[in-house]
Each structure stands twice: as C-alpha cells, then as structure tokens.
C-alpha cells in the first residue's frame, strides 16, 4: 500500500501523489479487493456515475447510475463481498488504464486537490470482451489515509443502453 500520508510538502510532486492514489484505486478494483477500496473513501464523499455525459453542478437532483454516500457504498460493497451476486457469478474480469491525469485545482485550506483522468476499462466475462471509457474527476485529500473525497465518472456513452456495471467504474 502506498503511503498517501507522506511527509513531503504538498507543493512537491502533487501530481505524482495523485497518480499514486488513482493507480492504487484501479488496482484494488481490478483485484476485486472491494473492502480495501471502501477504506480509501472519506466518510463525507459521494461516488457518482451519472446517466448523462455532460457535467452538472449538482447530481443529487437528477437520476444517476450510482449516487452513493458512505452508507450506500458500504451496502454495495457488502453485497459484492457476499459471494451471492448473480451478476458476478462468474465475476467480470477488468483491466483498467488511468491516463491523462491532470491537476485542476488545489484547495490548500482543506488539503484537497481536484484531479481529472481518462479511464479505460477492458471487461471480460462469459466469452466476450468490451471496452468502457469514462472521464473521471476525483477530489483527493492527499494527506489522508482515506484520500478519496469525491468521485464522478462520466461514461462516454452514459446516455446509451449499458451492459452490466456491477464491477464498479
């Protein structure tokens, strides 16, 4: 596990530290280590996968594929770990590639950065392989053990009919 609580001052290699978090998150999800993934989240964070590609200020007033607070995230992960999810029997295998990581903003007061990235997920299951693309925005608290303070995954084809998305974006 990388150390997100590094003593390095925030203004050195912020991008590298953001990369550490994003790559670690992708590895946990590819490894289906959902329990460890859950621990990466700050308690006040929202995990959102919208049904439209266009960015919105407030996703709480529209329908999303996923709009999880800490409680709903925990239920989702408990279900995934229960071993009785038909949509994951057999499990989808995923391979994620995170690229184009860019720092958009730094909130020194809250020790937060806003980071966008391009996400490609190759999903293999039941003899078929498909590709999912998304623009992802993270808010990260790089000084925290639970660094993910918010995440919005805008699927490239969010407004089109989806295949199964149980494995998490």
């Amino acid at each position: 596990m990388p150390d997100f609580r590094s003593d390095r001052p925030l203004d050195t290699n912020l991008l590298g530290r953001a990369n550490d978090v994003l790559f670690h998150e992708a590895a946990l999800l590819d490894g289906q280590d959902y329990a460890a993934w859950l621990e990466m989240w700050a308690p006040d964070a929202l995990y959102i996968v919208p049904t439209a590609y266009e960015s919105l200020e407030d996703y709480s007033t529209v329908l999303n594929y996923i709009h999880d607070d800490a409680d709903m995230r925990r239920r989702r992960v408990q279900r995934l770990l229960s071993g009785s999810v038909h949509a994951m029997t057999p499990p989808s295998r995923t391979l994620r590639s995170v690229s184009q990581v860019r720092l958009l903003e730094r909130d020194a007061l809250r020790d937060e950065v806003r980071v966008t990235s391009s996400l490609y997920i190759l999903v293999a299951r039941s003899g078929t392989q498909r590709m999912i693309g998304a623009q992802v925005e993270h808010r990260l608290r790089l000084g925290s053990a639970a660094p993910i303070a918010g995440k919005i995954c805008r699927l490239l084809d969010a407004d089109q009919a989806q295949g199964d998305l149980t494995f998490l974006i």
Binding site: V49, T51, S60, T61, V62, L63, N64, Y65, I66, H67, M72, R75, R76, Q78, R79, S82, S84, V85, H86, A87, T89, D159, Q160, A161, Q162, G163, D164, L165, T166, L168, I169
Partner: protein, 420 residues
C-alpha cells in the same frame, strides 16, 4: 431457428410455452408485425412532452416515430419519415422544435406534421399536393399520463384495450402525493435475450427472494421485510385485468396510497421527514412520506410496459435475442426537492445496470436466454398456482407468487399471434 408459423397455436399451452418462443427469429418477426405494429404501444409519458413543440423519438416495432405536443396542446405521433425520399426528419431523442426539417432536400414540417416548406418549388408546380404530404400521423390516445400510439388505424380504442388496468393506473399515480407524476430520468441497459423474458419478470413474485437475495440482505430492513413478505403472506394476490394485463400485489398496505397506512413510517425516511417539516404542514408531510416509496404492486400492461412499485419499465425488442430495457424514474412534478431526491436515490439503489437489484435480474434473463437454446421444443413452465387459481368476477385470481400473470400474457400473445 426456422419454424412453420402455422404451428404457432400449438406452441402455447394453458400453463406452459414452447422454449422456441424465446429463440425463433420467425416468431420474432411476426411479433413485430402483429403485436408491436398491430396493437397499442406505449410511446411516452405526458410529462416527457409537456411543453408545446416538445418532442420525443422512438420506434414502434422497427418503425421510427416522433411524438410531439402541438401548440394547441394535443399529442401527435407520426412516422419519422420525410414524404419526399424517406429520410428521418428528426434525429434527436428529445427536444423542442418548431419545424422538423429534412436535411436531405430541406422539406419542412410543423409539430402537427403539416408540410410547410419545399425548397425551389418551381419544379413541383402542378405536381405536389402539399396538404396530402404531411408526416403520416398515427392513432394516439392516452390514459393517466401514459401515451400510446398504434400503427394500426383500425385498432380498438385505448380505453377498451387497457380494460381493468385503468383503476390500477389511477392507483399507481397516487404515489405523486397530489402532484402530477412526472418522468425524472431513466436507466438504460441491454441484455442478450428475448423481450418476453423480462415481460414475465414484473409479474413474477416467486423470483424475489432468490434472484434478489444479495439485495435483500443489504438494504434497509423495512425494504427487505416488505419484499420478503411476498412469499409468506396469504393476503397478497395476482389478478388478471384483461387483454394480457395483470397486477401482482407485494405490499397490501400500499395498494391505495390515499388510505392511511397500517405501518409506522420507515426509519430511513426520518431525515426526509425532518427536511419536509421545515416548509410543509404536517398533513402534507404525512402524505408524501406515505407515497414516496411507491405503490405495493406491479402492474403489467401487455406487451411491453410495467408500472412497478415506484418506476416504469419499458421493453424495446431489438432482435429475437437482444432487448433494451429502460427503467424510468418518476417523481412529484413541482413537489418538494427533498422528496424527489429521495425518489431518485430509491430508484438508483435497485434499478439499472449498476443497481443492486436489476443487475441480478439481467443476469437471470441472460441465463434463461442461454438455457432456452438447449432442448428445442421443451416446455417453459408457467403452472405455479394453477390449482389454487380461481374466478374473481370476470378475472382470475391467484397468489402473488403464482404464474397467473404470465399465463394471462401468453393467452393474449396466442390470440394475437395465431389468428389467421
């Protein structure tokens, strides 16, 4: 798979169907002609085309159509096909337009479908009768906010077609707590399988504790108790409503939301109650809390929609083994933002490709589609509860977990498909 279509009546029994109903491409072609292009098909909720000149596009069967609201407030459905050289005249899925302009040669039409513009008309002098060349309009009728259209001009009135489903549509609409019920958004997903597999699913109380085991274990206990009680309770029933429609009750306390509840308000609505209490009188708060979780029944309207608890499910047949499913979220039009936020979060929890419920339904349907490739003419059984089914007036009634609704839907299917 090829099949002699004259043998169709022999493929549907009173309590079983031949498995080839899911897999035979010839049967699918006839379904498109007879069921989707010959009868009433749901095309919109009125709230989706609320404003004058708003429109929505979709297909009835395979035929692209536009649903519009005219300046006079009327709903019109017309073929999305230019009268000149057949190009679609509207490409967007929804929006506002005062004219539909064909991009090929520039012919333009009003929201009523009238042809009003033909560029460079010199060559058409004495040739074109513009008044006869509007977009072809279809029979369009609505009930309780649900808009249906038919490619068949001779189809019986919608009101007759909906039969005894109408009072259940009225009851479904009460979940808006006095506000108009409106569309808030939709979840779209596809699966590899026939459209009739999910048609059965919304009248299938039997599958709830099995397919949704992992959902029931991790949602709020009030929600899981509500759904798990379907198996245990004797007072829960399924009722046929005519023309292949049926209703299945999963929570008798939430059949008529205008009547007081026998149960306490679920704990997970406490925060919503506090938010609403700041700005609304106690009676209004109580009415919203009563309604916010939706009704306690699934209403199946043959062939391809279901009003299910708190949402509307639409099935779009894309091929014999490919179906698009839309789970449409509904809310209180002009109602408190907190109540609609709660409705959205309830929908997201269960529904859609990432939902804790739909994802397992989808998997079960694909397994049915895959399994049905085996065994050729082997039967798919619909006989649960056949011996406890009984007459109830003109209808038939059985337990909520029985397969009565499926038997009713396939009896209608046989009638429409097997007629010479």
């Amino acid at each position: 798979m090829r099949l002699d279509l004259d043998s169709l009546p022999a493929l549907v029994g009173p309590d079983w169907i031949d498995g080839r109903l899911y897999t035979c491409a010839d049967i699918f072609e006839r379904e498109i002609e007879r069921i989707f292009e010959g009868g009433w098909v749901w095309v919109a909720h009125e709230s989706e085309v609320a404003q004058a000149r708003s429109f929505k596009t979709l297909a009835i069967g395979r035929q692209p159509v536009i649903v519009t609201r005219t300046d006079k407030g009327e709903l019109v459905t017309m073929l999305n096909r230019c009268r000149h050289r057949a190009a679609t005249v509207c490409q967007a899925e929804r929006g506002h337009a005062s004219r539909f302009v064909c991009a090929y040669h520039g012919w333009s039409y009003t929201p009523e479908g009238r042809l009003v513009g033909v560029p460079q008309p010199e060559g058409y002098e004495g040739v074109l009768d513009r008044s006869a060349l509007g977009l072809k309009t279809l029979r369009t009728e609505s009930y309780g906010g649900l808009v249906f259209a038919s490619l068949n001009d001779a189809v019986a009135p919608l009101s007759d077609y909906l039969a005894d489903a109408k009072p259940w549509i009225d009851r479904f609409n009460r979940q808006a707590a006095g506000y108009p019920l409106v569309v808030l958004g939709d979840h779209r997903f596809q699966f590899e399988g026939n459209w009739k597999i999910p048609m059965e699913n919304t009248t299938d109380g039997y599958h709830l504790p099995v397919v949704h085991n992992s959902y029931l274990r991790f949602v709020e206990s009030e929600t899981s108790d509500r759904l798990a009680s379907v198996m245990a309770s004797d007072e829960l029933y399924c009722l046929t409503l005519g023309n292949g429609h049926s209703v299945g009750i999963f929570d008798a306390d939430a059949i008529d939301l205008d009547l007081p509840s026998r149960k306490p308000v679920p704990k997970h609505y406490e925060q919503l109650a506090r938010e609403l209490s700041g700005s609304l009188p106690t009676a209004d708060v109580a009415r919203i809390l009563r309604a916010v979780g939706g009704v306690g029944f699934n209403l199946n309207i043959f062939p391809n929609i279901a009003l299910s608890g708190a949402f509307l499910r639409e099935l779009r047949p894309l091929g014999v083994d490919r179906t698009e499913v839309r789970h449409i979220a509904l809310g209180m039009g002009g109602g408190p933002a907190a109540a609609n936020r709660a409705r959205l979060r309830i929908h997201e929890q269960f529904q859609g490709p990432a939902g804790l419920g739909s994802s397992d339904d989808r998997e079960a349907w694909e397994r049915v589609a895959r399994g049905a490739r085996a065994g050729g003419d082997m039967a798919v059984l619909l006989n649960r509860g056949v011996n406890r089914e009984r007459a109830a007036g003109n209808a038939r009634r059985a337990h909520a977990t029985d397969e009565l609704g499926m038997r009713a839907a396939y009896a209608r299917w046989r009638e429409v498909m097997a007629d010479a």
